[in-house]
């Protein structure tokens, strides 16, 4: 979709929220953020449908399926029955994956971790999450999530786009389409992936625009020298010499426009100016040298390692400050089919401190109130061991879509809350189930969007993030 209307402020804003004056990035403060918000509104929604509780989202996606039974949802019953067979009455014929579906024995496994209650909300957490425990009263834990997918590909795709089959727009793309950009010199949907993690592969369609115009797709920041593809000048070109080239290009375009009054040309002029500014703003946001030591310390030693989860959490806060609407982190490595105890401990060491530090940091800056932070994976894990299991021995858990835990914080979510319940076997939801579509409906609600009204017509049908489903979970709204 080319920008073809006559040159106007609106057409120039587009994806990157170009502001005519080119606001500098030095001395960023909440005030300037608020100022920009006043002039925002480049999405299709002229006004929000609902009161806006969250202005932006930081989604800490934990890819692979973290074990809710070993992190958030303690089940003493499993310790009691450790090694005994999962009763048929609990499973009730539900499908298992091809991984464990054919094993002849399905022994229950009790969590080897210790759980304690924390904060006024009394959230029960595993002892591997001391920092999450410290900020537990900022968080709403949903223990009754459920989904439809039993494998990673469709599972992550479902969680990120509301459909198991690739091709639908991702959450961030929907937001950019609906709400537009708050950022001056940055994309409004940025993706950060923890570097050098093995685990299940992630695919770019997870942050794709699906059938929405491609300008709404997420821009993945790379952790190497170029946070955005080809943003750096080639060797032998400086900012100064580039400026001179762009000035010449601009003259050529202005000369052409004089003879060929086509808005395509003015849009092109604007894009080159925007690109030039991004060449400054993107390195600025990824450069942590202006962060005070105590902030770096709070995120932990990995904060100085580009591409680590800690560094990405801090970068997420910096992007949020600069008006990026949707910051999607991915942290792979939670797919613990075997060796769960050791592997889960390592995952916690990588994620617990930065996740908590992010909440503190946002709160310190007055941004937690209107920033929605989401933590969770694509499904949970089984209460039984995968493959052979002898009590006390090494074990793993298979994929489990019937129940798992996610947490939300900030952005209009009721803090110090635990929502939903699972059965004593940790196999089925017994109270206040939250389907993936319900989570999406609730996220949109917090952003001021009625999930049934943000639609896009494609191939003759009106599509939305929640397909034809989704109910707002009113019980977790502040």
């Amino acid at each position: 979709m080319s920008i073809t209307s006559p040159l106007s402020r609106r057409s120039l804003l587009g994806h990157f929220g170009l502001s005519a004056g080119g606001i500098g990035l030095g001395g960023l403060a909440l005030a300037s953020l608020l100022q920009r918000e006043a002039s925002a509104g480049t999405g299709v929604l002229a006004e929000p449908h609902l009161p806006v509780k969250a202005k932006r989202v930081i989604y800490l996606f934990q890819s692979g399926g973290p074990s809710q039974l070993d992190l958030f949802d303690d089940k003493p019953k499993l310790r009691e029955m450790d090694g005994q067979q999962l009763p048929d009455s609990v499973r009730a014929g539900q499908r298992l994956t091809g991984m464990s579906g054919n094993q002849s024995s399905i022994p229950l496994v009790g969590s080897p971790f210790t759980f304690t209650k924390h904060g006024e909300g009394g959230a029960t957490l595993c002892d591997q999450l001391p920092n999450t425990a410290r900020v537990a009263d900022k968080i709403c834990f949903i223990r009754s999530m459920y989904t439809e997918s039993i494998n990673h590909g469709p599972g992550v795709t479902f969680m990120q786009s509301g459909s198991q089959i690739p091709g639908r727009p991702s959450i961030g793309a929907w937001l950019d389409y609906g709400l537009g950009s708050l950022a001056d010199d940055l994309p409004s949907f940025v993706v950060l992936v923890t570097k050098d993690k093995g685990g299940q592969p992630l695919m770019s369609h997870l942050w794709g625009a699906g059938f929405l115009p491609p300008k709404h797709q997420g821009v993945r920041f790379r952790s190497g020298a170029e946070p955005v593809l080809s943003i750096n000048n080639p060797p032998g070109v400086s900012r100064e010499s580039r400026r001179a080239v762009l000035d010449g290009l601009r003259q050529l375009h202005e000369h052409e426009f004089a003879q060929l009054p086509d808005s395509e040309i003015t849009a092109r002029i604007a894009n080159y100016e925007m690109a030039y500014r991004m060449q400054a703003s993107v390195p600025e946001v990824t450069d942590f040298s202006d962060e005070p030591q105590h902030v770096l310390d709070a995120y932990g030693p990995d904060a100085q390692k580009p591409g680590s989860f800690a560094a990405n959490c801090l970068l997420a806060r910096r992007l949020a400050e600069r008006g990026v609407r949707f910051i999607q982190l991915y942290h792979p490595g939670w797919d613990h089919h075997g060796g769960l105890k050791g592997a889960l401990t390592r995952q916690c060491q990588e994620t617990d401190k930065p996740s908590a530090a992010l909440l503190d940091d946002l709160a310190d800056r007055g941004m937690l109130d209107d920033t929605l932070v989401v933590w969770g994976g694509e499904f949970g894990r089984t209460n039984y061991g995968q493959g052979h299991y002898a009590p006390g021995s090494n074990f793993g858990r298979d994929h489990h879509p019937r129940c798992f835990t996610m947490w939300l914080a900030g952005g209009g979510v009721k803090p110090a809350t635990t929502w939903g319940e699972t059965c004593e076997f940790g196999y089925n939801v017994v109270k206040d189930g939250v389907h993936v579509h319900d989570l999406h409906a609730t996220m949109l609600h917090l952003l001021g969007i009625d999930h049934e009204r943000l639609t896009y017509k494609f191939q003759g049908r009106r599509y939305r993030l929640t397909d034809v489903h989704g109910r707002v979970v009113n019980g977790i709204l502040a």
């Binding site: 979709m1 080319s2 920008i3 006559p6 994806h15 994956t97 091809g98 464990s100 579906g101 054919n102 002849s104 039993i150 590909g153 089959i165 690739p166 091709g167 299940q200 592969p201 695919m203 770019s204 491609p214 300008k215 955005v228 593809l229 080809s230 943003i231 750096n232 000048n233 080639p234 060797p235 032998g236 070109v237 400086s238 010499s241 580039r242 080239v245 000035d247 010449g248 050529l252 375009h253 000369h255 052409e256 060929l260 009054p261 086509d262 808005s263 849009a267 894009n271 080159y272 690109a275 030039y276 493959g387 052979h388 298979d398 009625d450 049934e452 017509k457 191939q459 003759g460 049908r461």
Partner: protein, 1083 residues
């Protein structure tokens, strides 16, 4: 209001008679879009979703009296038309659409249209999509008819055509449109100089004949076909051999294969009488969907997804309908039911495919065909002939041996001593024999074929070989191993092993090639009527390895014996007719004669051969390889083990046992009894026959030699069969699968069975045609079919003008925005599909394109007055010529062509460009020519296409895409200014032009401008170029080291004899020109 009515009038083709504001709205142009958008979801084709019994898309039902006694639409009677009352109501309980639909209220304009339409009699019209196009302009040429229709439409708006574009603009436009590449300076000069009236037409003819034409046209087709070089989905491994199909597409366009053939071959080339290799290759179109290999995925779920993808792609590409909407329910807007969707599904599900490709092997999923050149085909035919010859020789030798032995025996000659010794010493060729009577000290099971173990330290388990050796020497110790979970239990004879189903007993033998005869005999005691259980196998895994190897299964209570290259389409398999007894010790023996046929597989139960049903009978490749090289008993990765079953006396033979030998394994002593009977003269004729057979089969040297020759000939044939790459194609199974309506689209919720068929709203399926893809293709390519020609013409228009006559080229159904010039679409569609004798183009695509390009409409300047530009930004009125940013491939190819770097060679494996290491799924870049091929050949991974192309809006080709977006974002600037490909091309163009002009910068830059924009710079532009150069040169003078850095970008060597500072400055300026509108926008 005035504009709306004029626009409606324009597309009705009633232009001459329209008086402003005078005509009532019509159903197709005005009313259906309103009803479809706001009402049909609850009052339309979907019976399940229908509210209040009201259906508004059919006149009879919309005007009928409802249960409430009201009528939604009372033609001519506004007061009685409840629809009008409801859409106007302020009462939230009454207003339509209801507030919970969240569609908002109807606009005043829409309500006025509905009112005027009902007042005028509420006349319904069939949707134009489903009515065959009409031929309305028989006296004009096709190009003339385009201009006549457009001129009329423009006149209504008080507009006229723009003048023809400048010649330099025109040659650039047609060169990109027909070849995807810019014109050369010589071509521009020649065209500008040619003042003859035929100059333009000659240019078109020349470009249409260029082999570049096929490459340009193929790029669009690859998006529709969702072509890629990887499998997609989660694992997204490389799919190395689909590119021969891409090359076929290029060739088909270049040969101008008539469009009906182009369509038929791709849908059903395999079913054409005496199908050629090319026709079968064309059907790969249907196999280009994504495929999954993620461990633990449900096979059937993905198989159904593949068929759905075929139907969706068929619908979008050839029908312009969104068939996928009917997977879960009747279509909400178009008259296609869910059942009709699954009738299409039934055409596309008859292939012998697996829902998962193989994780552990590189096998091409079935069905597939080998890619053979003529030398390979000849060699294979010769090898096949040698097998037949050797088999005949063996049969003759066997016959001879039987006769000789039988007559010698009848003549009372003594039985040869060697044969008697053999009879006494057990069955030849035995590799292992496990009695499972005890575990050795090291926990293993001794094989009787080995000498008894020394009472020494246990040896570590032998490493399993991954090699494809035909008959690896069995290791000295052929003991079997098993985890302790498998226990020993009392058996009919000593002890047997009791299996958990999760743990295997692993033997060190059994890596047989398919042409090597072998046998396995054992006693088993199943614990239940297994739905599926693996008794033993030689393979790495089930679906994860496509079951490569061989296996004895219990399938729904019956034994099934199979040799497999790729399950299910490349395997031989037989299943016992009689059930396997449960909880009873049963002797089972399976044999293979090495013929790679189902007839060569035998199952024996308790010593006698049992009747079998042939499950699969097509084995074309090897069953070795893929890991899991030795026989394992009772368990397989992610499969169902022989749970709680018992196994005893497990024996493997390096040859095919004869029936009498099988009996010996069941009832030891059978052979000595036979011999005794023969010796005593008490043998029955059957016993004598068995005795003769035994001799001929095991003891005759000439037979043994002939048998070795057969095996050698087969192995030679097999070696050849392993060589060619294979490409996935379509091939229907002999027995069609039954298709079902899948409730809510779920693969496991089968409803009623359906047979192949086409929707009632479309023309009837032709009499006498087979109900398969070939019949479907013939149904589709009938000139009277209302969709194929319209959809194709619309997309061709889109490729030239940037947008189709119907903007939604993927959907011409009820929800499509109507065409501005429907009669233009119909006229071209009619012409395209009809025979030349009737005045049509007979599916001649080049001629269709040429006629469009000959039109005045196409040849106009691309800019109109400011008002028209603003009011019609998408150029739906055609008041100007086309103008849009070049597609991704052309942007890159243009830079390469301008620099003289482009390597032009049609076809071949995909190449890896400079930017692939920056892809989301990084791949190492290639080198040399690979860096400079046309973008069409760039390696395409679905989860991470080439970032340069991706930046310019290529779809990732996960699904069929009929229309690309054309964005204009700052990310483009980064790529064109900074990416290696473009920096290098700028430098190479700069050095070439500087060398041509003796290092004089100004002429070099002006000529570069000419190359990049196809026109000469005017005076002001010349001055801008000069000042840009001066600024850059001044900077590089101060930073000479930077000049060298810039000039080092890219693989192409730097020219000698040019000052670095000059060359760097020129490079920078030319790099800027590659970002200039005149370079990247087609005008």
């Amino acid at each position: 209001m005035q504009r709306v009515l004029m626009s409606a009038g324009a597309w009705l083709g009633l232009l001459a008679t329209v008086a402003a504001g005078g005509e009532p709205p019509t159903y197709n142009s005005d009313i259906r879009p309103i009803l479809s958008e706001n009402c049909f979801a609850c009052h339309g084709p979907d019976a399940k979703a229908r509210e209040a019994g009201l259906r508004l898309d059919i006149a009879d039902q919309a005007t009928a009296e409802l249960e409430s006694g009201l009528r939604a639409i009372a033609p001519g009677d506004l007061d009685s038309s409840e629809l009008l009352a409801r859409v106007s109501s302020a009462d939230p309980d009454l207003v339509m659409p209801p507030p919970e639909a969240k569609l908002g209220r109807l606009s005043a304009e829409d309500r006025e249209k509905l009112t005027a339409w009902i007042e005028a009699g509420a006349e319904y019209e069939p949707h134009w999509t489903f009515v065959s196009p009409k031929h309305a302009q028989p006296t004009l040429t096709p190009a003339g008819s385009i201009d006549a229709i457009v001129a009329e439409g423009l006149a209504v708006r008080g507009l006229t055509f723009q003048p023809e574009a400048e010649k330099t603009t025109l040659i650039r436009r047609v060169s990109f449109d027909l070849t995807g590449l810019p014109p050369s300076l010589a071509e521009i000069d020649a065209f500008v100089a040619d003042a003859s009236p035929a100059a333009y037409e000659n240019l078109l003819d020349r470009l249409l004949a260029s082999p570049r034409y096929g490459e340009r046209m193929a790029a669009d087709w690859l998006d529709l076909a969702r072509y890629s070089d990887s499998y997609g989905f989660q694992v997204d491994r490389e799919r190395p051999y689909m590119w021969p199909w891409r090359d076929w597409v290029i060739e088909a366009f270049n040969d101008n294969l008539p469009w009906d053939d182009f369509t038929r071959w791709q849908l059903a080339g395999d079913l054409l009488p005496n199908a050629t290799a090319q026709q079968r290759l064309a059907t790969a179109f249907n196999r280009l969907h994504q495929q999954e290999a993620e461990g633990g995925s449900v096979e059937e779920e993905y198989r159904v997804a593949y068929v759905n993808d075929r139907v969706t792609t068929f619908g979008t590409t050839f029908l312009g309908l969104t068939l996928e909407c009917c997977r879960c329910h009747d279509h909400k807007f178009d008259p296609v039911s869910q059942k009709e969707y699954y009738q299409f599904f039934a055409f596309f599900d008859d292939v012998d495919e697996a829902g998962l490709y193989s994780f552990f092997t590189q096998s091409t999923p079935t069905p597939k065909m080998p890619l053979l050149d003529s030398a390979a085909a000849t060699a294979r035919a010769a090898a096949d002939a040698r097998v037949v010859e050797a088999e005949a020789q063996l049969a003759a030798r066997e016959q001879q041996a039987r006769q000789t032995f039988a007559s010698a025996f009848a003549n009372g000659e003594p039985i040869p001593d060697a044969f008697l010794t053999q009879l006494a010493s057990g069955l030849p060729g035995e590799l292992v024999h496990y009695t499972f009577d005890e575990r050795r000290a090291d926990g293993k099971f001794q094989s009787l074929t080995d000498p008894p173990p020394e009472p020494a330290e246990a040896e570590p388990a032998a490493e399993q070989s991954e090699s494809e050796e035909a008959k690896p020497e069995p290791p000295a110790d052929r003991a079997a191993t098993s985890p302790s979970e498998n226990t020993l239990v009392a058996s009919r004879d000593g002890q047997a092993v009791h299996l958990t189903g999760d743990h295997a007993v692993t033997t060190p033998v059994g890596n047989f090639r398919r042409s090597h005869p072998f046998s396995v005999a054992t006693w088993i005691k199943p614990a239940a009527v297994y739905d599926r259980a693996v008794v033993f196998h030689r393979s790495q895994a089930w679906t994860d390895a496509a079951s490569r190897g061989y296996e004895l299964l219990v399938d729904r209570g019956h034994l099934q014996w199979s040799l497999i290259h790729f399950w299910p389409g490349d395997a031989v398999s037989v299943r016992a007719a009689e059930p396997l007894p449960v909880d009873t010790w049963t002797h089972v023996c399976v044999t293979s004669d090495g013929s790679s046929t189902a007839a060569g597989l035998k199952i024996f139960i308790n010593g006698r051969p049992v009747a079998t049903e042939i499950i699969r009978d097509r084995l074309t490749r090897e069953m070795t390889g893929g890991g899991g090289d030795t026989i394992r008993i009772g368990e397989r990765m992610r499969d169902n083990g022989f749970k709680e079953g018992e196994v005893d006396e497990f024996r493997v033979f390096d040859r095919m046992l004869l029936p009498i030998e099988v009996r010996e394994t069941f009832a030891p002593g059978t052979l000595s009894e036979l011999h005794a009977g023969v010796a005593a003269g008490t043998a029955t004729p059957a016993d004598l026959e068995a005795f003769v057979s035994l001799y001929a089969g095991t003891a005759d040297a000439a037979v043994a030699e002939a048998r070795a020759a057969v095996e050698a000939a087969r192995l030679a044939r097999d070696d050849l069969a392993e060589k060619p790459a294979e490409v996935m194609v379509m091939r229907d199974m002999d027995r069609p699968k039954v298709a079902y309506v899948l409730e809510r689209g779920d693969y496991d919720k089968r409803g009623a069975a359906v047979s192949p068929g086409t929707p009632a709203v479309l023309p009837p399926f032709p009499e006498g045609q087979p109900r398969n893809r070939l019949g479907l293709a013939r149904w589709l390519t009938d000139p009277e079919h209302p969709l194929l020609a319209r959809v194709t013409v619309n997309r061709i228009w889109q490729s030239l003008f940037g947008i189709g006559l119907v903007p939604s080229s993927e959907d011409l159904g009820s929800q499509a925005k109507p065409a501005e010039y429907p009669q233009l679409l119909d006229e071209l569609a009619w012409r395209f599909s009809h025979p030349a004798a009737d005045g049509g183009l007979d599916w001649n695509l080049k001629e269709l394109i040429k006629q469009i390009m000959l039109s005045k409409t196409y040849r106009q300047r691309s800019i109109a007055d400011a008002r028209t530009m603003a009011d019609d930004p998408q150029n739906m009125w055609l008041a100007r010529g086309p103008r849009h940013r070049l597609p991704a491939e052309m942007i890159r190819d243009n830079a390469l062509a301008a620099a003289g770097l482009l390597v032009e060679r049609i076809g071949g494996p995909p190449v890896k460009t400079y930017d692939l290491p920056d892809s989301f799924k990084p791949t190492a870049a290639g080198s040399g020519e690979d860096l400079f091929r046309r973008s069409l050949y760039t390696f395409w991974r679905r989860t991470g296409p080439g970032p340069v192309l991706e930046a310019f809006d290529v779809p990732n080709r996960v699904v069929c895409v009929a229309k690309r977006d054309t964005t204009n974002t700052p990310l483009h600037a980064f790529v064109l200014l900074n990416a290696t490909q473009f920096v290098e091309a700028s430098r190479v163009l700069a050095q070439e032009k500087l060398l041509q002009h003796e290092a004089a910068p100004q002429p070099a830059l002006e000529e570069s401008f000419h190359v990049l924009t196809s026109r000469l710079p005017d005076e002001e532009e010349q001055a801008i170029l000069a000042s840009m150069y001066a600024a850059q040169r001044a900077w590089y003078q101060q930073h000479p080291e930077a000049a060298d850095e810039l000039l080092g970008v890219g693989e192409t060597p730097r020219a000698e004899g040019l000052a670095a500072i000059d060359l760097a400055a020129a490079t920078s300026v030319i790099n800027a020109l590659m970002n200039y509108d005149g370079c990247v926008v087609k005008r």
